[in-house]
Structures are given as structure tokens and as C-alpha cells.
Symmetry: D3
Subunit: 186 residues, 6 copies
Amino acid sequence: MPIVEAHILEGYAPLEKTRLTRALTDAVRFVVPAADEAITVLLHEYQTEAYARGGVHRDPAPARADPADLVTRYLAAMEARDLETAEGFLGDEFEMVFPASHSMNSLTELIDWAKGRYRFVTKTTEGIEAFQAGGSSIVIVRGTLAGEWPDGRPFSNIRFIDRFEVVDGRIVRQEVWNDLGEVRSA
Amino acid sequence: MPIVEAHILEGYAPLEKTRLTRALTDAVRFVVPAADEAITVLLHEYQTEAYARGGVHRDPAPARADPADLVTRYLAAMEARDLETAEGFLGDEFEMVFPASHSMNSLTELIDWAKGRYRFVTKTTEGIEAFQAGGSSIVIVRGTLAGEWPDGRPFSNIRFIDRFEVVDGRIVRQEVWNDLGEVRSA
Amino acid sequence: MPIVEAHILEGYAPLEKTRLTRALTDAVRFVVPAADEAITVLLHEYQTEAYARGGVHRDPAPARADPADLVTRYLAAMEARDLETAEGFLGDEFEMVFPASHSMNSLTELIDWAKGRYRFVTKTTEGIEAFQAGGSSIVIVRGTLAGEWPDGRPFSNIRFIDRFEVVDGRIVRQEVWNDLGEVRSA
Amino acid sequence: MPIVEAHILEGYAPLEKTRLTRALTDAVRFVVPAADEAITVLLHEYQTEAYARGGVHRDPAPARADPADLVTRYLAAMEARDLETAEGFLGDEFEMVFPASHSMNSLTELIDWAKGRYRFVTKTTEGIEAFQAGGSSIVIVRGTLAGEWPDGRPFSNIRFIDRFEVVDGRIVRQEVWNDLGEVRSA
Amino acid sequence: MPIVEAHILEGYAPLEKTRLTRALTDAVRFVVPAADEAITVLLHEYQTEAYARGGVHRDPAPARADPADLVTRYLAAMEARDLETAEGFLGDEFEMVFPASHSMNSLTELIDWAKGRYRFVTKTTEGIEAFQAGGSSIVIVRGTLAGEWPDGRPFSNIRFIDRFEVVDGRIVRQEVWNDLGEVRSA
Amino acid sequence: MPIVEAHILEGYAPLEKTRLTRALTDAVRFVVPAADEAITVLLHEYQTEAYARGGVHRDPAPARADPADLVTRYLAAMEARDLETAEGFLGDEFEMVFPASHSMNSLTELIDWAKGRYRFVTKTTEGIEAFQAGGSSIVIVRGTLAGEWPDGRPFSNIRFIDRFEVVDGRIVRQEVWNDLGEVRSA
């Protein structure tokens, strides 16, 4: 049965409202196992002068960027070795951890570290999921890796999963797991 | 600003309502970067006779179990090698994939496969996150592994991440990534 | 899609709320051809001190009696020739019109008039429908008549329709049509 | 007191919204004997992207035609012997029952049957009422007949009532009662 | 926490809606000591055809003029001795009471009475407050007076308070208190 | 037309809800000149677990005391010269201004100052009005004074008005105007 009414300020784009209705729908499903047709989400939108908090009218905060989209564009830039674009997606406090790596804070550090591991690697994404946890958006990317070992032999179809934390529109944490170590040692 | 009103049938337990208000709060945060104090969630609850769909009164569907809790209990049973309890959490279509493993469908299959990899392993959880994606609840567990290699040497502090899919209160898919291969081959 | 929220004072019985949710559901269907599963009705109920009109708290008006039920009981009393009970259902301004009758205002007048037409008559109801039209509840009863002509021959399976107007819990108008004249003259 | 809020998709014409507010007002009156000034109906309208069921945006279903208007136009076409227009109002499963007639399924069948009963007949409508009963709209038309008997003598002021069932914008059932038999046999 | 939703007909100007949101905010604060950021007011606006009372669509009543603004303009006209303009703000039943005055009903009466008290007086407003009490808007103006005594000596910084009743956009009562008597007799 | 829905946490006493519905009704009247019967106020009440701000359940803040009642009790204590009780109503920052007085901060200071002005004084209240202005409740008390001059002669029927500011349940400011100076100097 659940019906969800969300009251928001006017000014969000249709796609932002679609993202909001979907997120609210999934929030309901998370707790109530209602049939899809029985979960309704309604958005009420208010002009600035029809809304006040503490007696003061407010302007709408611009919507957060879709974190799944943001991560997708970051991964594409990385794969294209377009480090400048990729860095544009990172927050000041960016930290990343790769399999058996120490914590790294910059993409150049990553590039150096990766040199001993493979000549190049490409990602085929099989699933991307995003959700909110308090102030952070979490993005989970799963799929397979292909590329060449340092000696030039190819590899492919190696499982990976990346977990990203996005805060205020910037990636502040990337954690990577994959089976490269398993395969290399096989 | 956003205010969310959810209309549900009467009968959910306080903790279930807490889960619902949190999930709805996170759904809003996912799109609208409002301050915490500005995101309000209200639950309206209806007695059976105060609600009708298609002119017919309905009873509330029992809430879904908390999938994070369900997975936590499954992992505890696995660590205690209490396979009977652990299997109680699995759906008929259960499938699991471990690092460099083929797809497995039963816990005994997993036990056999793991024998050549370590004597035992324990998990220290650093984070557990759960969210809904359509009909499935997804649970992400992260942390570190400790245990003994087949030759008895200990290992510890090895990163892992598990991804679970929970449908209708049963785990139907478990995917595991970790750095055991990296460490073993180091 | 339509969702209807009705705000009412606390104190209505479950069956009265059921009648209200059904009437609201049919009101929606009358204009919007939504699937049944997509028409939701919610009743919000308010304690006296949680409701004010013009700054003054109000008590709920007792619900109207179900007019279909009221007419059913009137017809049963008539069939049992229990005129005292039947008259209890009639308003001061009661008027009735039967096939080819002049307007009549009392049940005894009806009994007199009917004497020349049949010895007795019983009604088998095939359908009863009730709806509101402004201040009046309208009840439509359809079915067949059986009984005996003045000469003792039986008749049966003769179509009839009655239209009742109910105001403030009393029948103020009864109009009757049937095929007795057709059959008698055949 | 009752206040009714109906949530509908944007796109209904003003007259359709008027029909809906009236039907909801009558639905309330059917159960709660509130003064007219105390029954308020509010329509909330939603753009497609502000509404989702099961996480999917929906388009509004076109409003049902006003069944009273539809029946009025059908009766006008019948009176004008414009059978082609009249048939356009009928559903595939159309059935009609006239006084002492067998069940008929087409207008030509009706015309044949009526030939022995009167040369022509016109209807003066005194009241038309429409309401919804589940998936059917019911229309009740009352008034008087005038016309000529087969022998050319005129008749007039003979009571009739018609009951129509309208489904998906087509008349699927017409039932007719009148006092022609009474008068003819008098 | 309180959230207030007000449902009004479409057509009010932004400033009128601002006045309404502020008045509702203060109404909440009057009873509930919530933090400002926790008091939200939302205005739902309805087109004529989306609102019905007693089944009848209604037009919005024009908003009341801001009574504080009205009184401010009246006082300015009085200070400028523009009696014609000032009288335009007064209702037919206007009554005023000044310190130690009898009740007066016209501005010329006031001018005559004041002659023996001061040559002229100007008001410096320190605070103006307006609120509603049933059908009347009450305006409280506080501040200090300056001017000249009948003998030409100046005075200044003398406290005053005026209380106005405004009904249907006209001042119907003005009551004045000040310390002129105290100072004069000192 | 206006309809006001206020959403509050459960736990307020009936009289507190009555005060809130009246304050909201007056807030509407302040801007919209609707007939009394057309202004409806509804209170929705939520259990703690059905309400969350920022994802956190909250407890209701105890209602503010009725400031008109508080001031009435303070004035009664003053008239009875029960200074201890009267001081219990005053805030730490209490300030008062009487006609031609300097600003005073304690009741004993007031008593001293008043000695030269009258032997005693009693107040007859003709009207008391309270409203909210941001964080302060304002109370306006009007009426007449009676008492004895220092020389023992009686006085009576002398107009007064008091303005109080109440913050967090304590009087922080009292301003008094009256015609004593006018009468004394007459």
C-alpha cells in the first residue's frame, strides 16, 4: 500500500525528480514487501513564496549530481588515461586503496604503483549501484577486467568490484578489489 | 526542506518504522543536499478499515527482515561452522562466487573448495551497508580477514568485500572479493 | 492512480468507514478509468480537539443509515404486511406512485388501491443500488414479482423496478414500475 | 467537516474535474450528513515526472465520458430514428429488455418488436441520474412517454424509467419499464 | 517539529503569501517552542476548478490589506494634517479615546480637543505589531512623541502606545496612551 | 476556504491543542477574510517513532505556558503584594518601564518608586490579548485603575494599558501606560 508524498521546492529537473521517486520507492521496498503497483510516490513542489522554514522563504538547493553517473565518467577518464579530467572528479581528501596497495592519494601515485602490475587494464561493467548513507553517496561497480600483464601476455574476464564514496559531488574514497592476484599466482 | 509523508497500514513495529524513516531520509539525501535538520519524515498509519485499494480493505504485509541483520547472522553461523543454521538463510536459487572460484551452489561445495586455500578464516567487519534495488536487498560487507594458510602460518589484516543479494528474506547470491591471492603470491 | 484522502472526525464505526471508502472509490471510478489496484482511499480520523472549524471544535455528525439497508427492511415489512414497522421508515412528506396509480401518501391508501390488482405480491430482488444526489439518497431496487391475480391465478417472474428517495433517514418518495399491466393485458 | 483530497495526474479538463469534485462530494454526503458548507474537496494534480507507481512514471488515463451525457445522446438518436448514430453508443455485448419483451441484442430487433406496440414514441425526461457501481456506470432516466398507438390514437404522459449500464464508454445494457401496458389495458 | 500545510485558492500575491506563512509560523511558536529551523510552513494553492465546497467551485476572497501598513499610512496622514486621506482609512463606526479624553468619533473633534494640549506632535515609531483576534486585526504602535506645548516650549522623547482595531480594511477604534500628562505635571 | 493541517508530535494536552487551533485560525484570518465556517484546522499527531528529522526520532518539546494566563497570575500576585510569587514569573533580564519612570529591574525598585505616586492601586482588566512575535510572546492588558492618591483621596476608572514580553515562560519586559498623570494634573 505505501504511498509516499515528498514535499520539495520547485526547480528540480525531470530527471532529478525521477531519481528521487525511484530512491523513495526503493526506500519503501527496503522495509515493506508491497507489490510494485501498490507503491506510489507523489512529489509536491512549492514555489519559493509558498514555503518557509522559521518564517523565512528558502531557495532550493541544487540537486546532487547522480553519483553513479559521476563515477562512470571518472572510470571512463581513467581508462582513457585522461588524468586531468579524472582528477576533476576527486575531492581534496581523496584516498584510494587497491589490492595489496598502501593507501594512495593521487592518480599519479596510482599510475606508478600499477606499472609493476599490468601494462593496461580495461573494465567491463556488469552492474553499478548507488545509494546514500548519511552524508555520503556510495557507488558499487562490479564487472570484469581485461588487459596485459607486464610481460605482454593478455588477461581477461577477471572479476572486480569498486566501492566509491562521493561527498558534495566529489569522489573522496575509492576502494578496489579484484582477482588479479589469484590469477597471477595460479 | 524536503518533507516526506509515508502512508502505511498500522501494525509495523517501532524498529521497522525506524528503518523506514531512515531509508526515506537517505532517499531524499541521495538527490537533495539538504541539511539534516531540514529533512523531515512523517509516517501516517491507517487501521485496516481506514484504507482501501480498489474499494477493498487490506492487511499490512509483514515487514521485510533487516537484510543487514540477516547477513550478519549468516556470516556468524559460517564462522562458527554451523552450516545448518547458515543454510537456513539461503534461498533455493542460492549461488556464490569466491575469488577465482567457479560458481558454487551449496555451502558444502564451498567448504571443499576452501580447504586448499586456508585452514580457517575469520572476518572482522568494518562496514556493512544495505540498500534496495528493485525487488532485491543488497548488502555490502567490508573488513579484514585473519586465519591460517594451509601450512599453518597465520595471516591477518587482509581486505575483503562481500556483496549479497537478499530476496524474500533469503540470500540468493553471495559474491566475495579479497586480497588473499595478492598476499599469497607476494 | 487516483489517491483519495478523506479527513473525518473520529467516531465512525468500521462499517460506516467501509461504506465511505467504497463510495469514494466509486466516485473516482465514475470519472477516472483507473485499474482497481490503482485507486487508493485513506481515511484520516481526528479527535475532537484536533479539529476546529472557525476556531471551534466540533463533534462528528452520526453517520447516515445505509439507505439500501433501510429500503430492504421497509420492503420486508411491507411484504409481511407489518404496516406499523413499514410506516416507521417513512418521512412526513412521503409520496408514492405505482403503475397507473395517482399519487398516494399513506400505506393504507396503497393497500386499498392494490386490492383490485392482486391478492398478494412478493418481490425477488435481483439488484439493489444506492447513491447520493445532493441531499437525497437514491435507492434503485430491481427484480421480479410473484403473486396471485384477484381471481386466484398465480403470476410470477414479472419484472419490476422501484426508485426510492431517502432524506434524513426516512423514505420520502417511492416510485414503482413493473410489467403487471403488460402481462395482465396479454 | 469532511475534507477530501484527491491526488490525480495532470491533464483532466475543467469539466472533468468538476464531475470528480461533485462525485466525491456526493460520496461523502452518502455517509456523513454534513452541511454543504462543511464538505470540501481539493484536487492535487501531478505532472508525469512528479508521480510514480512502482518507481515508474505514468500517463493519465483519459477521463470516462459523462455517462448521463452519453445516454442522453443515445436516446436523442433513437428518437430521431438515427440508428447508425445510436448504434455507435452500444457495446458488443449490448442487451436490452423492454416491458414484456424477450431479451434483444440489436436496435433493428427492437424496431421490429415495437411495431406492434406503437407507431412512434417520444420521451420527456424528468430526471437523469448517474452513478458508478464497480466497473459500470449506471444511468437512470425517468420521465413520460407520448406517441400514437398502432391504430393512430395518441397517448401521452405515461411514466417510464430506463436503466442503462455503461462500460468503457459503451452502453452494454438497457432496461425499460413503463406504464404503456397499464394504459393500453385500461 | 511542527509542519503546517495551508490549502488556499490560487491568486494571492507573493507578499500576501509571505504574510500568511509568517502568521502561521508565529501561531505555531505561540504554543510549541520549536527551533526556527524546525517550523516549516507549506502553502498548497488550488485553481478554482480544483476546489469545491458543498460541490460548488469558489473564487478566492481578496486578501485583507496588511493592517500594520494601513495604520502606518493613517498615522503619516495625520502627522501631515492630511485629514482627507486619514479619514479614508476610518470605518463608519470609528471611535477614538485619547488620554483623559472622552470618546470621540471624528478627526475634526480630535483636532479641536488637541488644541489645548500641544501645538503639534510627531511620532517616532519604535515598534509596530499586528495580530488577529477573531474578526478584528489589532495593531499596536509604540514609540515616542516630540512637539511643542501650547506655550511654544518643545518636548520630546515622551513614550506613547496606540492600539488600533481594523475591521474589513478600516480602522474602527483607536486608543492612545502616553506620558504627556506625567511630563506636563512634573 | 483555507484549510490548515498542522503536523505535531503526540503528547500535547487538549487545551494546548485548542490554543494551537485557535492561533492557526487567527493566522489565517489575518490574511484571508474567509467566513468562519470555511476555516478548518486539522492537527495530525505523530508518535515518536513515526517522526524523524535528519533520520533521528525526536521527543515533543513541552508546550509553552499560555502567556495570557501567566501574565494574569503575575498581575494578581502584584495586586496581592505577594512579591515572592510575582518574582517567580520574571526572567533574569527583566526590565520594566512605568509612566515617566526610568527603567527598573526589580519589583522592590518598583514598590519604592510607586510610593510617591499612590497608596495602592487595583486593576480591572477589560481586555487581554496575546500573540507571538518571533521568539517572544506579547501580552497586551487593558482596563482601568482604581486606588488612592498619597493623600488618601480615592481615584478610579483611570485607563491603563500594559505590554508584556514573555520569553521561555518568563516575563522579560513590562511596559505600562496610564492616565494617572493626566488626572493628577487636572
